[in-house]
């Protein structure tokens, strides 16, 4: 038996990393939209919730888990793209309060419509992997096949996003469109398409996050399933830096681990207070986030 792996501290670390991956993934989806269009999407939790219902509930009658996952992600892409084209595109260049109000309204509409169609009670999604903790020397460790699935999915998605942004021409155009739209257009980049693609990617990543959250045996899928995750994901994005995908992920994992310890050693009711405390201190020390560049965006 390895006493370290079964210790309380290691249990908190592993549990925290698992939660943190979820916060980090969600923060990444917020950052993708912010970087590509400068909009803080308050419906970022509700949009993937809706696409997850479409994929995982509507099509569950006809297909198994994995085809439903693919359909949910496709629905997320579609919802993200159409939302940008039909709703958000009219808000560019308007006062900053406009997209906030509109997206909060969209959040309420989506949650209400989802509740009207599928009820506000939880739908349990089939879990593809067992949530039962592994045993080591007869003692459980805070790690199961399902948590490995969560962590593995998170790592794969983050790696794919990093490769897309750093190594491909498409990623180069996405970044350029966000940083310098006018210059990008002068260089032949179809900025409008890139903005739509940013929303498509963001809602896709959000849908994957939602599926991971809702596939958890203890959570299930409800219209408000992502409201709590939104709060912690938003804090992670703000602490890491809304300009920094890597920062959002690292901050998500860090916050996940910190809050796990707070919940275990202090009080689970203190978790949100500590999270907000981290946000306030972070904004006081580094208003742009820990990992965002200090310099101005454009040259």
């Amino acid at each position: 038996m390895d006493p370290i792996l079964t210790s309380r501290i290691m249990s908190d670390v592993l549990g925290g990393v698992t939660n943190g991956i979820i916060y980090g993934l969600f923060a990444l989806s917020l950052v993708l939209v912010w970087r590509s269009t400068g909009v803080l999407n308050f419906a970022q939790g509700a949009m993937p919730m809706f696409s997850t219902y479409v994929g995982m509930v509507v099509f569950a009658h006809y297909f198994g888990y994995w085809p439903c996952v693919a359909l949910a992600i496709a629905a997320g892409f579609l919802l993200g793209g159409t939302t940008e084209r039909l709703l958000v595109r009219h808000l560019y260049g308007k006062p900053e309060i406009n997209p906030i109000v509109v997206m909060v309204g969209f959040l309420i509409v989506l949650e209400s419509v989802a509740a009207a169609i599928w009820s506000s009670g939880p739908h349990s999604l089939p879990s593809p992997f067992s949530p039962i903790d592994f045993q080591l020397g007869g003692k459980p460790i805070a790690m199961s096949r399902f948590t490995l699935y969560e962590i593995g999915t998170g790592v794969v998605v983050m790696t794919l996003v990093a490769v897309l942004f750093r190594l491909t021409n498409l990623g180069l155009q996405l970044r350029a469109s966000a940083l310098a739209p006018e210059v990008s257009r002068l260089l032949g980049v179809r900025v409008g398409r890139m903005l739509t693609l940013g929303w498509i990617l963001s809602t896709g990543v959000g849908t994957i996050t939602t599926i991971l959250v809702a596939s958890n045996f203890f959570t299930g899928l409800t219209p408000q399933v992502m409201d709590g995750i939104f709060a912690f994901g938003f804090i992670a994005a703000a602490v890491g830096g809304l300009e920094s995908p890597v920062g959002a992920i690292l901050a998500g994992v860090g916050i996940g681990v910190a809050l796990q310890f707070v919940g275990d050693y202090v009080n689970s009711n203190a978790i949100i207070l500590v999270a907000l405390g981290i946000l306030v201190v972070s904004l006081m020390v580094r208003p742009n986030g820990i990992f965002s560049p200090r310099s101005t965006r454009r040259v």
């Binding site: 180069l172 155009q173 310098a180 210059v183 002068l186 260089l187 032949g188 310099s295 101005t296 040259v299």
Partner: protein, 235 residues
């Protein structure tokens, strides 16, 4: 060749360009001169599709540009180096160049090699963020980024702005060289009239949105009235 005919552009009630007509020939450098507010930058922004005219036409080798989106104008072979250079500071030198090459079907590797040969300092700093370059180096990068797309027309907006006289002289020499060696149609907007007239084949002088002179550059350079009243070139 770029043919501008009867071009009028407004910002609300303010008319920035009034019935502007001129032709920029292939392989020739056309300088557009004038004081602040003359409409020089507006002219370039209208050619590249960033600003829509109220009336008039802009034809590039017979292709009408008015009504086309800036990205389509760029893909038709018009490179625009905007005022302030427009290099993306968060990108490395090479990423800026890769972005510029996207509008062209030319081979990226050979394009990069060509630009690094033309501007060796960019090759030395290819992995550095553009924000860390000096003003002159940024201007080189902006030029290289436009050239890597192999444009047939190059629009340059105040390239000498903020540069030391020696760097400006080198830059003007490079522009002239590019124009003749690549048969480029170059429209050069400059406040530094003397530098621009030294290398230009033709000069168009704008005053409050109107063309007040359109002639061979040497003729404009020797016209005392133009020099004194429109170009601020006092002996």
């Amino acid at each position: 060749m770029i043919a501008v005919e009867h071009l009028s552009v407004s910002y609300g009630a303010v008319q920035a360009l009034r019935d502007v007509s001129f032709t920029a020939e292939t392989g020739a450098l056309t300088a557009v001169l004038g004081a602040n507010g003359a409409g020089k930058t507006t002219l370039l922004r209208t050619i590249s599709g960033l600003k829509s005219p109220v009336r008039g036409s802009i034809a590039k080798d017979g292709l009408e540009l008015v009504g086309r989106a800036p990205e389509d104008v760029a893909r038709s072979g018009v490179g625009h180096v905007p005022e302030g250079r427009g290099v993306i500071g968060e990108f490395t030198v090479e990423e800026n160049l890769r972005l510029g090459a996207l509008a062209s079907k030319a081979d990226l590797k050979s394009g990069l090699a060509e630009q690094y040969e033309r501007f060796p300092v960019l090759g030395e700093r290819r992995r550095q963020h553009a924000a860390k370059l000096s003003g002159g180096e940024r201007q080189m990068l902006a030029m290289a980024r436009a050239l890597i797309a192999q444009p047939s027309t190059l629009l340059l907006d105040e390239p000498s702005l903020g540069l030391a006289p020696l760097v400006t002289a080198q830059l003007m020499h490079t522009i002239k060289d590019l124009c003749s060696s690549h048969s480029l149609t170059v429209i050069l907007v400059e406040q530094n009239a003397s530098s621009a007239l030294r290398i230009a084949d033709r000069a168009v002088v704008l005053h409050v949105g109107r063309v007040v002179a359109d002639d061979v550059a040497s003729v404009v350079a020797e016209d005392e009235n133009l020099r004194q009243y429109y170009l601020g070139m006092v002996e």
